[in-house]
Symmetry: C2
Subunit: 363 residues, 2 copies
């Protein structure tokens, strides 16, 4: 058996509940796929603030670097809302992204047939939507310096900085093209090239990368048009690729299509360009459900575990090279939904543990 | 009769067609409201590039400053797509916004009962949605310097700058509160305060302004959450206020609710703080439909004139102090829609001129 070491950071709120279901699923499928999953637990976010006075210790970064993948629950909550800057729970997550070089955030959004009614969109618009947002995660306004405020006689002022290099753009767009080859072979690159210098560079580099993939269609779209199109015609999209902050906004917007954030997984990847051009080699990654810590329902067994479960399915696919096992988990999720098992967010009464068990039985 | 001088900049594509209908409407309602509207025409965008080699001449800026309001159609089109930077049609619009100090962009989005079926959202979610996006229009990433690219041994890099002062934030948020007093008394301030220094300042100043309006509810929301909420629960919003680029994205996203961009008006305002605190005094403004130049349907009589017509209604309300006349136009639009008159974008067969005439008859 191959052994995979996973650093588990359950985090805050519903994080521990949903990651427990996904962990149980991995442990259940291990033997059948010839894999052993060894979990090492650490703290992040509010839980780490309470225990150690900081949202992320160097120890957890070292443990992440020594593992094959990181699995995270959620961070934050009202208990830490009065903290500022580096002291906030979220800053632990931002620091981890940067320390691990997780430049690529993948957020697939699928409208499952069984859940078309949970979408706020008309069924004829939502049905069959299946897209992947590829967001640049370690550049742009999130990490550009200066990012500071100042007060002088004239008053208070603040400034943030949006920098991008051709290298940063090239590697994320290239990954988007490689992923599109495994899907419907269309990449939509989103920018604001009619206003921003960084977006003009983005469009130029995206066009160059596109020339290496003649079998994939590249289209450019302005971010304002993209935010409309996601709602008006979501099926137009296959792979979207965009910079950090546009990706933050558009991936959450796209998430609404699925009816509940609770359904959505994510992967944040780091890796060298793969040796075989145009393929996606196993990459180091951090996996987490898209939903937040949902403190209002924490500890009540109401949270949807599917976002966490589909996140470990992405882990199998992108970090461990176990695509068949990943497919099996996705099929099990679809079966459990088709059989009518739902947590409250998608209109049902199943508990977190019940829905988790239903998926496990089918995987 | 009072005389109002309007600089008309029809622009490109469908701009001339839709502004013609709105102009005819103003001329028709003038006598009844004791007003005379005098139009002076100028060029902007591609039309100005073709005639003068620049998307906006100083002459048009001077004419705008000498008028009581500016009425614009749309700018841009494929004929000018290969132009870059200051030479682009859009840069004429950006230059005009800055030269006229139009710091406040107002974009109301209403889902008319007669058009619920044109919305991509389920009727039970879209029905009754009625919100106003108030976007800061002369600051932030659109005008921050440096905004440039550079090439050295390490490669190509680009940078944009996002600056805000307390004064810029204060005046736009204050306007949002004054507008909320004329509506349902709720302001949602949108930022990314968990990441950006400018957003932290934004939130601080918005909170201070809110203290001056104890009768209006203020809520803060992160931009990623806002982009979800607009689709999942659009009726939660009354007035949204946000910075320039977030406003660009969210106002277009919100526009989708209405079923067609062709329905949507906008106002871009400049003015001193009004003498009576908490009221909205007449302000100088530029009015334009939200839709673009739509070159694919230009000259065919297919464009929806309601965005332009509702824009002149905003002109009457915000620049000329003729709120009753504005109400009458909005009622006429609603009547025409209820009577079944629609252009193609909202599922009908009426021409631009026919729908314009139907509104005129009812105003
Ligand atoms: C918590 C926050 C800093 C984070 C982000 O903006 O990246 C979150 O919204 C996300 O998308 O993972
Ligand atoms: C044309 C473009 C520069 C403009 C903007 O981004 O402000 C447009 O999208 C708008 O919203 O008026």
């Amino acid at each position: 058996d191959r052994t995979f070491h996973i650093l588990l950071l359950p985090g805050d709120g519903v994080g521990p509940e949903v990651t427990a279901e996904a962990r149980a699923l991995l442990e259940a499928v291990g033997p059948a796929v010839g894999a052993r999953f060894v979990f090492n637990e650490g703290l992040i976010g509010g839980a780490a603030i309470d225990a150690y006075g900081t949202p992320l210790r160097d120890e957890e970064i070292d443990a992440a670097l020594a593992s094959d993948a990181v699995f995270l629950g959620a961070v934050g909550g009202p208990a830490w809302d009065n903290l500022r800057g580096e002291a906030r729970p979220e800053s632990g997550l931002l620091r981890l992204r940067k320390a691990l070089g997780l430049f690529a955030n993948l957020r697939p959004v699928r409208v499952f047939d069984a859940l078309v009614d949970a979408s706020p969109l008309k069924p004829q618009i939502a049905r069959g939507a299946d897209l992947l947002v590829v967001r640049e995660l370690t550049g742009g306004l999130y990490f550009g310096r200066p990012s500071e405020r100042r007060t002088d006689e004239a008053g208070r002022r603040a400034i943030d900085t949006l920098p991008y290099t051709d290298h940063e753009i090239e590697r994320i767009v290239d990954l988007a093209f490689r992923l599109a080859r495994q899907r419907r072979r269309k990449v939509t690159s989103i920018d604001k090239a009619n206003v921003l210098a960084t977006s003009q560079l983005w469009r130029e580099v995206a066009t160059e990368v596109g020339e290496r993939y003649p079998d994939v269609t590249l289209e450019h779209m302005l971010v304002d048009a993209g935010s409309m199109r996601l709602i008006a015609r979501p099926r137009d999209f296959d792979v979207l690729v965009t910079e950090n902050l546009f990706g933050d906004i558009l991936s959450d917007e796209a998430g609404v299509l699925a009816g509940s954030l609770g359904m959505l997984p994510s992967a944040s990847l780091h890796g060298e360009p793969p040796t075989r051009p145009g393929t996606v080699a196993p990459m180091f990654g951090l996996y987490e459900p898209v939903h937040g810590s949902a403190p209002d329902i924490a500890g009540q067994g109401l949270a949807n575990p599917l976002g966490a479960i589909l996140s470990v399915s992405m882990m199998l696919r992108f970090s461990f090279g176990l695509a068949d096992a990943a497919d099996a988990i996705e099929a099990a999720v679809e079966d459990a939904l088709a059989a009518g098992y739902r947590t409250r967010d998608i209109g049902g009464t199943a508990t977190t543990a019940e829905l988790g068990a239903q998926v496990r039985e089918r995987a």
